[in-house]
């Protein structure tokens, strides 16, 4: 089973679209990506209990890499860790990678069967092609 992926965002639409984009990189290949996004009413917000549920569902024993947008999404993801069973929690990585670019890198790597650390590493490298192409983080036009 591939490493699980979960996208945490303030926006359900953003999370769903990011997942669709990542899936577009992998036509014909199966990839389960959990989504925990939006507040209880579907507005902008995050819900740590929903994140905990998504992580538990995404974990098949090989762990889960969680990508978050920013701000309180990070706080909610950390809070979700407190709600998880100890054995699941140990297998979860909260990734500081960029949401969209990191998700694509993680998805492609997870679909290839890589382990959790490798998937997390590729998530962090998600920006590298864009930065290399545009001439580094300091690059301009």
């Amino acid at each position: 089973m591939p490493v699980g992926l979960v996208v945490v965002s303030h926006s359900r639409a953003l999370a769903d679209a990011a997942v669709e984009l990542a899936r577009g990189m992998l036509p014909g290949r199966e990839l389960a990506v959990g989504v925990a996004a939006g507040d209880v009413d579907g507005g902008l917000g995050t819900d740590a209990t929903a994140i905990a549920d998504a992580v538990t569902a995404a974990d098949s024993g090989d762990g889960v890499v969680v990508l978050m947008d920013l701000g309180s999404a990070v706080l909610s993801a950390e809070t979700a860790l407190e709600l998880l069973d100890d054995d699941v929690r140990e297998r979860v990585v909260l990734s500081p990678a960029p949401l969209v670019e990191g998700l694509v890198g993680a998805a492609v790597t997870a679909a290839a069967g890589a382990d959790r650390d490798r998937v997390a590493t590729e998530a962090l490298r998600g920006l590298a092609p864009k930065q290399a192409h545009l001439g580094g983080p300091a690059g301009g036009s």
Binding site: A48, S72, L75
Partner: protein, 210 residues
Amino acid sequence: MSAVDAAALTAWVREFARLVHEQRDALTQLDAAIGDADHGANLDRGMTAAVAALEATPSDDPAAVLKTVATTLIKTVGGASGPLYGTFFLRAAGALDGDDGRALATAVRAGYDGVVARGKAERGDKTMLDALGPACDALDEALGSGKPLGEALGAAAEAAAAGRDATEPLVARKGRASYLGERSAGHVDPGAASSTLLVQAAATALAGEG
């Protein structure tokens, strides 16, 4: 002598919910100045749900009361104050051991430490820590010098209010308001204001306990 038991904690939660509901628009106004104008709505939604959850599944276990509040806030608040207050109540529930004032102070301190660990802010960053921190200190100090809980909580509420007021000139360094940089100065932090309500609610609801 009465005790800081499940009923007392429930009364505290209800009083906090009442104050948040009453101050909802004021809290949202504060958040409009340096945030996204939802703090009052967020917390009123969360605390209304917390009171409803306690009514739906009342418990004799004081830690269970705090845990119910925690998970309800985490689920329903949506913004940064959800995981932060949620962590406060979660850690307080985990640390609660006993039903006297000391036990309450220990639990509240653990809750405060949880907010610090979660939000990675420091006092002076213009957050709820600026009200909660002084309140914990005042509570510990008053109990340590032998004051009764009611008096100690009164001192804590005063310290919280002073800490809240002191956020006004500060520049926000954490949370959404930090995006404003220098322009965040000149406004009281909404989370510091709601935290002050939390401590004031304790002073009102738990004055005769422990």
